[in-house]
């Protein structure tokens, strides 16, 4: 892999938007306030971003909304100019930021394909040459002379996608276009991704769907708060993204930040004898263990463990707060195990264990988080629904018939 040539090289990229606080749009406003200097708010969107993508790699960029991932894509595509830094790309790059850029509803498929392909960098002659392939790939042979406005949205997407595939780019930038379309279309997109991969194309996929990253990417990058938070194995990056994504909810605070002062190295469930098991029998005690390793000292710590079901409903939480007193500070490098023993009244389903470590004094600063760190299934018991099987009895009695006349 190291011997493969570089396809995209980004070095120390910075990008700041200047947002005018009061937008002066008309001359009258200018004339009325001639000396008022427009005040700008500087909005840093990308802060010293550097990475390399190798040729033939399927590279995922993950990030929450507003993290700067779309701006990065637009800088790569040459739509925004970088303030500082250098971007180099090997060969022809086709951005696919929106489906069917330049598509016009009043034109036929044929005309639209030519426009779109020219936008993507083909010549009109090349576009016409490849038109049959494009239409065949989109499976729209019967609708060639139909106006685009009469196409279903799925058909439009198919047309746009096959034009992109035929655009002959060395590097393709794809931005969450899969958000549209139904399940059948998504399957088709996945097939296209697989075939593009097989053809050895370099693909940069920007998304907030970690499943896509896990399924297709060779490597992934996580962008958080305008910086690169990690590059590496897609599974690991996806997990970190998930952690970052759920940090607000987990910390029950807005604007929670992850400081990574600790590492949750292992989390597992066990039966009452302490034997590791990802199956918990209903009605039997269940144990949850989490191994925490402090990288930096954590004063006045809190460790919290919670269980949620597949649908994401939090069914149970336990915390060191329950001790009712301050627990000993974590020293640098110290390892401790947090254990919870539960009377398992959960109904049979699949559950996930998540773990959070933070300082009691600053609850929005999270020292470590591991979202859905362990999974277990509950089996046995007889229940008709609900989340818990609460202790209960049932009765059914005949009620005397009162005859009213």
């Amino acid at each position: 892999m190291a011997s493969r040539p570089i396809a995209v090289d980004v070095e120390h990229l910075h990008k700041t938007f200047r947002i005018p606080e009061h937008r002066v749009h008309t001359l009258k406003e200018r004339a009325l306030h001639p000396f008022r200097r427009t005040a700008y708010e500087e909005l840093r969107v990308l802060d010293d971003v550097s990475f390399r993508i190798l040729q033939g790699e399927f590279f995922g960029i993950l990030g929450r909304n507003g993290s700067g991932k779309s701006t990065l894509l637009k800088c790569l595509a040459g739509i925004y100019r970088a303030d500082e830094g250098r971007i180099r790309v090997a060969g022809h790059l086709a951005p696919f930021i929106e489906l069917g850029v330049g598509f016009n509803p009043d034109l036929t498929a044929r005309e639209n394909v030519v426009i779109n392909a020219v936008m993507m960098g083909l010549s009109p002659a090349q576009a016409r040459e490849r038109f049959d392939d494009i239409i065949e790939f989109a499976e729209l042979q019967r609708f060639v002379e139909m106006k685009l406005k009469n196409y279903s949205s799925g058909m439009q997407v198919r047309l746009a996608f096959s034009t992109m595939v035929q655009a002959d780019a060395d590097v393709m930038l794809i931005d969450e276009v899969l958000a549209v379309g139904d399940a059948a279309f998504q399957e088709k997109c996945f097939e296209i991704f697989d075939s593009l991969r097989a053809a050895g194309k370099t693909i940069v996929l920007v998304t907030h769907d970690m499943r896509l990253v896990e399924r297709f990417c060779d490597r992934a990058m996580l962008i958080n708060s305008h910086r690169i938070e990690g590059i590496g194995d897609p599974k690991e990056i996806a997990q970190r993204y998930l952690d970052a994504n759920f940090i607000d909810a987990a910390a029950e605070a807005a604007d929670a930040v992850l400081l990574e002062r600790a590492h949750i190295s292992d989390t597992w469930t066990a039966d009452d004898q302490g034997e590791r098991s990802d199956i918990g029998a209903h009605g039997e005690p269940l144990r949850v263990y989490s191994l925490i390793e402090a990288r930096d000292p954590i004063p006045d710590p809190e460790i919290r463990v919670w269980i949620e079901n597949e649908a994401g409903a939090r069914v149970f939480a336990a915390s060191t707060l329950e001790f009712g007193r301050r627990i000993r500070d974590f020293a640098r490098g110290e390892r401790r195990m947090f254990a919870v023993r539960i009377e398992n009244r959960l109904v049979s389903d699949t559950y996930h264990v998540s773990v959070l470590v933070r300082s009691r004094a600053r609850p929005q600063e999270v020292s470590a988080i591991r979202h859905r760190a362990a999974r277990f299934s509950v089996v046995g018991g007889e229940h008709v629904g609900g989340l818990y099987d609460l202790e209960h009895t049932i009765q059914l009695e005949p009620v005397g018939k009162e005859v009213t006349t």
Binding site: P5, I6, A7, D9, F17, H25, T26, L27, K28, R30, Q55, G56, K74, C75, L76, A77, G78, I79, Y80, R81, A82, R86, I87, R88, V89, A90, G91, H92, L93, P95, I97, E98, V101, G102, N104, D106, L107, E111, V114, I115, V118, M119, G121, S123, P124, V165, D168, D170, S195, A199, G200, K201
Partner: protein, 282 residues
């Protein structure tokens, strides 16, 4: 599916959007495809289609001709006045229509500007080209009319394509300034609409240049459009008409040429300065 080339392409720098750049061929393809599409869509869905591009100046011509030859009698004593009026209207309509289309062109193509990397100049250029296509269609009709009126072709007609080319270049220069400024200053649009009307009456479109007081002729002819209309008149319609030099002195060409060069240079400079960030201003 095509497979990637065996020899990997070399790394090259991505500099972000610019006015030009990105290869001359791609530049031409883009401008042409955008212009042709707009031309096609311009009359989409109307029964008469392209004919409308002809009917509009003809109707304007009909009204103006009636008013200025029958009511105000401005055209009396002017050789081939109806032909002159028609040619002037068609050329001037091109200038105003193209520049007015160009004003909002960048904003209208927002979805392209914000989603694709391409030389930004192609956007106003396409707006001017669309109008130029209309102009070509109209000029065919105008020359049929000119011949039918009894004006005989002369070698000086060969100058006419040059005149049209210079007019289109000037229109493009004006369009660059307008298109670059509009995203930031929305007043550009009404200001230019009024300016268009002022220029229409301030140029020898309806009246021949001789009717302007001698001392003022050079002011009128400082406008390159006016100078070009007058040159077209001499070359095509009426060889006896005063040329620009005859009307306003031997140095008369100096002012319109300075204006022409200034507008084109300023246009390129302004657009080039705005182009890198134009996507962020929208």
């Amino acid at each position: 599916m095509t497979t990637s080339a065996p020899t990997p392409p070399a790394l090259r720098d991505i500099h972000g959007p610019s006015a030009l750049g990105g290869g001359f061929q791609r530049f031409c393809y883009l401008a042409w495809v955008m212009a042709a599409t707009d031309f096609k869509l311009g009359y989409f869905g109307s029964a008469l289609g392209y004919l409308w591009s002809l009917v509009r100046p003809l109707l304007l011509f009909g009204v103006l001709y009636l008013v200025f030859s029958q009511v105000i009698r401005l055209g009396e004593g002017v050789p081939n006045y109806p032909v002159l009026l028609l040619l002037n209207i068609v050329l001037f309509t091109f200038f105003t229509e193209a520049s007015q289309n160009a004003v909002q062109s960048v904003v209208r193509r927002e979805n392209l500007v914000r989603k694709m990397h391409f030389p930004r100049v192609t956007v106003p250029l396409a707006a001017v080209l669309t109008s130029a296509l209309n102009l070509v269609v109209n000029l065919v009709a105008v020359f049929v009319f000119i011949l039918a009126y009894g004006v005989n072709p002369r070698p000086s007609w060969l100058l006419f394509p040059v005149i049209v080319l210079v007019l289109a270049t000037f229109t493009f220069g004006v369009s660059l300034i307008l298109a670059a400024l509009f995203p930031r200053f929305r007043d550009v649009e009404p200001i230019w609409a009024i300016t268009g009307t002022i220029l229409f009456y301030g140029s020898p479109v309806l009246y021949p240049i001789e009717l302007v007081p001698d001392d003022w002729q050079w002011v009128v002819l400082a406008n390159p459009v006016a100078a070009l209309l007058e040159t077209a008149r001499v070359a095509v319609v009426d060889p006896t008409a005063p040329s620009v030099a005859e009307a306003a002195g031997a140095l008369a060409w100096v002012t319109p040429m300075v204006v022409f060069v200034a507008v084109c240079v300023v246009g390129l400079w302004v657009f080039n300065r705005e182009a890198p960030r134009i996507a962020e201003e929208l």
